[in-house]
Amino acid sequence: MADFQEVSYNSPIEGEISENAGNAHEEDGEELTTLDEPVKDTVLRDLKAVAQKFSHIVYPRKNSVLLRDWDLWGPLILCVIMAFLLQGVKDEKTGGGGPQFAQVFVVVWVGAGIVTLNSQLLGGHISFFQSVCVLGYCMFPLVVAMVFCWTVVKLISHQTAILVVLRLIFTSVGYGWSIFASLTFLGDSQPVGRKALAVYPICLFYFILAWMVATYS
C-alpha cells in the first residue's frame, strides 16, 4: 500500500485527470441531448450521414468525409442488398443454383479485408476500417447495376441479345465507376511509386463482384 501512496503522490497524472474532467463537463450537455433525443432522430441522423456518403460515391471528389467519419452501415446495407438480389434459386434437377447469400456476403467482406491487408502490407497509411468503409461504399455503382440487371431479368422473361448487351454495359460502367471512386478516396493513402500495386487487387475485387452481377440469370 505504501508503494501506491508514493506513486500517487509523485506522479504528475493528477493535472491531466482534472483537464479531462473539465473537458467531460463541457461535452456533457451535448451527450445528454444525444441520449435524450428520440430514436427516430438518431436513426434519421445516421441515415442522413450514410446517404451523404453515398452522394460522395455518386460524384467522387477529393473529400476526407469517408475516411474521417467512417462507418460500416453503408457497406452492410449494400452487401445485404447485393446478396439478396444475387440469391439464386436452387435447381431441383441438378442441385445447383446461383450464388448463395452467405457466399456473396463472404466474398464482399473477405475480399475487402484482403485488399485492405494488402494495402497495409504495401505501406499504405490508412487504418483497416477506413479502407473497408471506402471499399464497401464504392460498391454502390455495382449495386445499382445489380438492381438494374435484377429488374431486367425479373420483368422480361425472354432475354434477348440487346438486353444482355445492355446489362453488360451497365455492369461495365458500374465497375469503372467503383474503381474510379475508390481510387479517388484511397489513392493518396498509398506510397507514391506503388499505387499500381494497391490498385490491382482493388480492380480484381470489383471485377469478381461485377462478374457476379453480369452473369446473374
Binding site: 508503494d3 501506491f4 508514493e6 506513486v7 509523485n10 506522479s11 435447381d91 434437377k93 441438378t94 442441385g95 445447383g96 450464388p99 448463395q100 457466399q103 463472404v106 466474398v107 484482403i114 494488402n118 497495409q120 502490407l121 504495401l122 505501406g123 511509386g193 506503388r194 499500381a196 500495386l197 490491382y200 487487387p201 480484381l204 471485377f207 469478381i208 462478374w211 452473369t215
Partner: protein, 326 residues
C-alpha cells in the same frame, strides 16, 4: 502480489549479479541493449521501467556504488508496481496485440517490390536460364505470386461458370480458392521438402515465389481459353509452349542451385510434372466439363440432354449413375 514483487526483486538482483560479473568485458554490449529497451516506444511502460531500473543498477555497479537504495527508490517502486499490474492483467492481451503487429511487420518485407521490378519478374518467368553455372537468385517476394493466385481464382471462377459447373457440396468460390491455394501451398511445401533432401538451398518463401510466378502461364492460357474457346489442339500447343517455357524457367533455376544428377532429376521432374499436370487438370476439369461429361453418358440419354443443352448443368461431385438417374 507479494510473490511477484519478490520475483521481480529476484530478477533484478540476479541481473545485477550477472552484470557485475560480465560488465568488465561486455559493458558496451549491455549498454546497447539497454538503450534499445529505453528507446523502444512500442513496448509497454512496464518493460521500459524494468529496463530503466536494470540500466540504472548496471550503471551503479560500474561506478562501484552498488546499494539497496537504488532498487527501493521511487522509480524502482513505480516500475515494480506497474510491471506487476501489467503482468497480472494484460499480459496475454498485450502479447496478442504485439503478435498481430509483429506478424504484419514480418510479412512486410515480402511485399516490398517496385512495379517495374514486378513486371520484369512476370516477363522473365517465361525465360529459361542459359547458364547453369552460377546459382540463380530467387526473389523473396510474395506480392506477385499472391496476386497471380488471386487472378487465377478469378479466371477459374469465370471458366467454371462458363462451363456450367455445378457443385453439390460447396460453392464455386470456395472450390476455386481451395484448388489454387491448395496447389500453391501444397506443391511449394513438397518442393521445399524435396529441395531439403536434395541440398538445394531454397527457403519456403522462395519456393512460393518460384511456383507463384510459374502460375502466370496458367492464368494466360486459361484466360485465352475463356475468351476464345479454342480447340483442344490449340490448348495443347499453348500448354507445350507457354506452360513449357514457364516450367523450363523453374527447372533451370532449380538446376542452377542443385548439385548431383539424381537430385536434379528428382526436383525437376517433380516441379515440371506438377506444373504441367495442374494446367491439364484445370482445363479438363473446369473448362470443357459439360462436353466431356455428355460424351461419357449413355447414348440413350444424349438426345434428352441435347434437347435442353443450353440449360444443362451437371453436378461435378456426384457419381455419374446419380446424374443419369436424374
Amino acid at each position: 502480489m507479494t510473490s511477484h514483487n519478490s520475483d521481480w526483486g529476484g530478477f533484478s538482483s540476479g541481473d545485477e549479479q550477472t552484470s557485475t560479473q560480465d560488465q568488465a568485458q561486455h559493458s558496451s554490449k549491455s549498454a546497447i541493449i539497454d538503450m534499445g529497451n529505453m528507446d523502444d516506444s512500442s513496448v509497454t511502460s512496464s518493460w521500459e521501467d524494468v529496463g530503466d531500473t536494470t540500466h540504472r543498477v548496471k550503471d551503479s555497479s560500474i561506478e562501484g556504488q552498488e546499494g539497496p537504495g537504488m532498487v527501493s527508490g521511487i522509480s524502482g517502486n513505480l516500475g515494480k508496481a506497474v510491471a506487476d499490474q501489467m503482468w497480472q492483467s494484460g499480459q496475454q492481451q498485450a502479447r496478442k496485440m504485439i503478435d498481430v503487429y509483429a506478424n504484419i511487420d514480418i510479412l512486410r518485407p515480402y511485399f516490398d517490390v517496385e512495379p517495374k521490378v514486378l513486371l520484369f519478374r512476370l516477363g522473365s518467368s517465361f525465360l529459361p536460364l542459359r547458364s547453369l553455372t552460377t546459382p540463380q537468385k530467387i526473389p523473396n517476394e510474395l506480392y506477385g505470386p499472391l496476386m497471380i493466385v488471386f487472378t487465377l481464382i478469378a479466371i477459374l471462377l469465370m471458366n467454371m461458370k462458363n462451363a456450367g459447373t455445378v457443385l453439390q457440396q460447396g460453392t464455386l468460390m470456395g472450390t476455386a480458392f481451395g484448388i489454387c491455394f491448395g496447389y500453391w501451398f501444397g506443391v511449394s511445401g513438397l518442393i521445399y521438402f524435396l529441395a531439403y533432401l536434395c541440398n538445394a538451398y531454397i527457403s519456403v518463401v522462395q519456393c512460393l515465389s518460384l511456383l507463384g510466378y510459374g502460375m502466370v502461364s496458367h492464368c494466360i492460357i486459361l484466360l485465352l481459353g475463356h475468351f476464345t474457346h479454342y480447340s483442344h489442339g490449340v490448348f495443347y500447343f499453348l500448354w507445350a509452349i507457354v506452360a513449357g517455357a514457364s516450367a523450363a524457367r523453374m527447372i533451370t533455376v532449380l538446376l542452377s542451385r542443385t548439385v548431383g544428377k539424381s537430385q536434379r532429376l528428382l526436383l525437376c521432374i517433380t516441379i515440371s510434372s506438377f506444373h504441367m499436370l495442374f494446367l491439364l487438370y484445370l482445363h479438363f476439369a473446369y473448362h470443357q466439363v459439360v462436353k466431356d461429361i455428355l460424351e461419357t453418358l449413355d447414348k440413350d440419354l444424349i438426345p434428352a440432354y441435347q434437347a435442353a443443352e443450353d440449360n444443362i448443368r451437371v453436378a461435378r461431385d456426384e457419381p455419374e449413375s446419380e446424374i443419369a438417374a436424374t
